[in-house]
Subunit: 346 residues, 4 copies
Amino acid sequence: MSYRKVSVAVIGANGYTGMELLRLLHFHPEIEIKTITSESQKGRKLSDVYPQFNGLFDEEFVSLEEFDDKDVDLIFLALPHGTSMDFIRQYEGKARVIDLSGDFRLDSPEVYNEWYGSEHLSPEKLQESTYGLCELNRDSIKDSQLVANPGCYPTSAALALAPLIQHHLISDELIVIDSKSGVTGAGAKPSEKTHYTKVNDNFMAYGIGTHRHTPEIEQTINAITENHYKVQFTPHLLPVNRGILTTVYAKTDSFIEEGSLKTLFEEFYSGDTFVRVMDSAPTIKDVKATNFCNIFATYDKRTSQIIVVSVIDNLVKGAAGQAIQNMNIMFGFDETLGLSHIPVSI
Amino acid sequence: MSYRKVSVAVIGANGYTGMELLRLLHFHPEIEIKTITSESQKGRKLSDVYPQFNGLFDEEFVSLEEFDDKDVDLIFLALPHGTSMDFIRQYEGKARVIDLSGDFRLDSPEVYNEWYGSEHLSPEKLQESTYGLCELNRDSIKDSQLVANPGCYPTSAALALAPLIQHHLISDELIVIDSKSGVTGAGAKPSEKTHYTKVNDNFMAYGIGTHRHTPEIEQTINAITENHYKVQFTPHLLPVNRGILTTVYAKTDSFIEEGSLKTLFEEFYSGDTFVRVMDSAPTIKDVKATNFCNIFATYDKRTSQIIVVSVIDNLVKGAAGQAIQNMNIMFGFDETLGLSHIPVSI
Amino acid sequence: MSYRKVSVAVIGANGYTGMELLRLLHFHPEIEIKTITSESQKGRKLSDVYPQFNGLFDEEFVSLEEFDDKDVDLIFLALPHGTSMDFIRQYEGKARVIDLSGDFRLDSPEVYNEWYGSEHLSPEKLQESTYGLCELNRDSIKDSQLVANPGCYPTSAALALAPLIQHHLISDELIVIDSKSGVTGAGAKPSEKTHYTKVNDNFMAYGIGTHRHTPEIEQTINAITENHYKVQFTPHLLPVNRGILTTVYAKTDSFIEEGSLKTLFEEFYSGDTFVRVMDSAPTIKDVKATNFCNIFATYDKRTSQIIVVSVIDNLVKGAAGQAIQNMNIMFGFDETLGLSHIPVSI
Amino acid sequence: MSYRKVSVAVIGANGYTGMELLRLLHFHPEIEIKTITSESQKGRKLSDVYPQFNGLFDEEFVSLEEFDDKDVDLIFLALPHGTSMDFIRQYEGKARVIDLSGDFRLDSPEVYNEWYGSEHLSPEKLQESTYGLCELNRDSIKDSQLVANPGCYPTSAALALAPLIQHHLISDELIVIDSKSGVTGAGAKPSEKTHYTKVNDNFMAYGIGTHRHTPEIEQTINAITENHYKVQFTPHLLPVNRGILTTVYAKTDSFIEEGSLKTLFEEFYSGDTFVRVMDSAPTIKDVKATNFCNIFATYDKRTSQIIVVSVIDNLVKGAAGQAIQNMNIMFGFDETLGLSHIPVSI
């Protein structure tokens, strides 16, 4: 049997997530990029549209219509929400799929309908898909045909909460999750909300009580111990390009000794290279442009609250990086392959 | 009786708060700036140190030693924490004082000791001082000799909470307050934490569970209805110069009809020009460089939580502007005099 | 004769220039805003669209069709380039007009055609209009019916060059003008170029050799001494909201004594409150949100070059502020009326 | 003969340049980092001081006194200007040295004295050292014992000018170089100038006519054809962390056909992977966090000027990256080894 690299396609490559996938995949030693598609840029060279790729990656975007999945082992779907669902419904090839949209993250078509405001087009596939939060679902990811890559906010929130949930430390049904994200989370399409002069030197909350990542977070943390926590999730828009910082507030009835939270988190994540448990509150630049999630947990005796702060790069651990981590798991590579850069923190 | 303007001195004028006082006072029609002091800049012209004042305000800094309070009606103390206390302890003149430090905000010397980590030098003055949150304490401010100008975070948090407290809407003893502030809140002194490359494109939490504004917020909201709320207060550092956005989370057992929160806030602040109750979540630029506080309150039926978002400019409503508002109250001027600029939101 | 305020209309108020006019006009003691028009926002209250105006300016936008110039003394035209021309061509009322577009700045229809790429629709009005660079054309502005408010780059460049030109200090026909502007200069319309993630932490040149402000600068400086200088003008896009810094390079054959350039500039601008001649290189924040232009000139003996650095706020001295300064001149007010704020430099 | 990796030491590793060297060296497949020194951080683990290195590079800083150059093949000197000179003067070991300070860049002790304001301590070593601008001096670098790594501004300016100089296209003795740099160029030490609130939303020129990179640029371009160009060099401070954009203005008497400049640059840099000749003006993010230099050259027929815009990352091609490129040349590796990342342009 002859060795060959894993062949991948990036469908919908002309967006922040697609770009970031290409930036990272380019240096993955075990894969080969066969096709990149974009309807708006088809026929143009990637490096003509995005000068950073000049001389490094000069392939052409093709239309999805021209895409032939023969000889492709893995498809990264970087299509908009709703469009992924449509692709999957019709897709009959053999390639495995990692979908970076929100279409296959929720288990229940009803919950999907409630938060996304429309019927799910492919409810049976919804059941088949695996939620690709690597640190929590490694085993199911391994053999999955369709991995739903987690949302950026849910990744930062669930990693901050998982050890507490697992150890039954949270005594109140309601958990407050206050998240702050960079602008790339809002996508590449120009809009008033993302105009430079609107964001620069500014800060705002949005989607209070209505953001679609709310049920995704609840589903993820409640799956750990079959519990029924609710989360009050508020996203905010930071004047930075990349990065999410999530501050979690959870009531506890347990007495918590100094330092024991760190030990608990370290043990929980002992096999997880990308989760780094810290001695002090992290900053979003501590993980910039990498797949790391830095976490700091502390207990306030005065108020019986546990506060956890986690940071990720929303385009990497919150999107493209975790997708590659999922690929590494699915194809039996070392989980960190192609992902072990030092953060660009300066 | 002949008319004359109110004579003021700014002690410790060479810091962000001092500068901002001078920027705003310059256009107050009823006052006259007699003296500005700075130990580090004494002998230099303000406009030589800060070119923005060139041609507009060319006075010299003098040393505090040279300051003579004769003919001064009002002293703005813009000294560092701890230093104000020392000044007040020794001050025997007749001028009224607005202190912008944290020294006279707390009622209890014990609480001061606990959170500030040192003995209060002037506990009897601590009792005499008035907490200058204008919208809540207007009447006591009027005749006060010593007004403690509130902290920036407490201003944003207390204004967000006061109507809910007043109406007994909060059913849980613990309130979560997640605040985000611009860098001017950390003062003008260069440090690693405020180096441009550290802050730019970055974001972090700090002082979790230990920030000195925690007891100030608790004292302020508990004074409204003699209650015993505790707050879990977490400040964060935003990559912007000015502005605080505070997100408040409070449990309620009351049933709250749509729109009723807005009405409740509007009625509570009906006489308060500087508090603007909004229909949607505000941004920090909506109030930039002005004394406004914009507030949005909403109720999440699913979780029984009230979420309030408030924004202020930390240097204005959170410091120099509120000090001038206090002055206006103390000297019988229209409360908005010299303070009714339109925000520099673009 | 009864006193009344000057009545003004702002046509095309829903853009950065229009907004900035309203921010500044609101506190002008001698004017009254009668009408604000916007086609896209007609029927909405200004303060509903722009929350910064809430409680301060709650007028409604109307359509231009509804605008009646009866009882209006002055029209500020804040329409896009090309649209202003169309308005002026058809306008038959008596109100005086200050046009903030580029339509009436150039004297020659041929030069207009060459740089703007289309025929001028109203060449006869082009002759009648006055170029409103206040410091240079004060006398003609006084009685003008139609003032063409200067471009932002030309304002910063011409003020930096005028004293040198006047004194025949420049010996080479070619002057290099390297300008850097904030993003508001590119207008309020969302685009890829002004997307936050594209501008933030970035910097670029644009319009090299082709920018329309090139002939405007040449016309302005050559009018001073009927000379024929050419300028090599390169604009750049800064990751800031407001502000222009222009660096001018001009060869001289004269021997220049230390300090004499400052004196020369000071004398030239001795009657001009808004031009501040500085001892060291200014920063764009030294004039932020105000009508000032700070200038520093220096001579490099080694190279026989004069280097001048000037800074303005592109929305104020580069647009709305200068328009108000023009109004003050036209209506006989003190030139600084409504414009003497201290910069928001922190 | 057994194979072993090249052993390197980083002396003065606790600064932006040192950090960036470590970030990049960590993934160089052919080297091994033996020692990192820092006087202020000695005894601490790198990853305790800089959390981005956590789990990736956990070595300890040692004092320079403890450094033993036995078994070290190469020393990267990342010491402050003046300190490097002192080290080199005393160093008697065999390891080759790449010095990232300004101490050994100029050929002439007199010129050094004039621009740096002090005597050179090691003038004989000044003669022996090689100026490490890889694209221009590859051959001499190969066998050098002491390479002076170029300054950031000179790298961007010389690469923009070299093809024009080589082809004798510049007809005026004076070349204008207007450069704009990110804040990391000013070093890691906190100061008023680099305080966040001073830099954010701001922009300024500095060192007009006096910056030390002036003679370095002149020496470098005049070495190409033994010419005597003078440069008028003005650096500016951008509100970004990384990146330099340089705009060059040069008079030409030659007639230049459209497109011919691009061809000329492409041919000049045909063997240079890191120089990318572009079709339009580059932005600093097109090369962010990488060793690329993107260049665009254009000719303005109207003014007979050639304008060239070049961009580099000041910490990579302007410092650590070029140092590694020099190392690759010195040790016979492929010049791009460890340096071929795709820019972090989003």
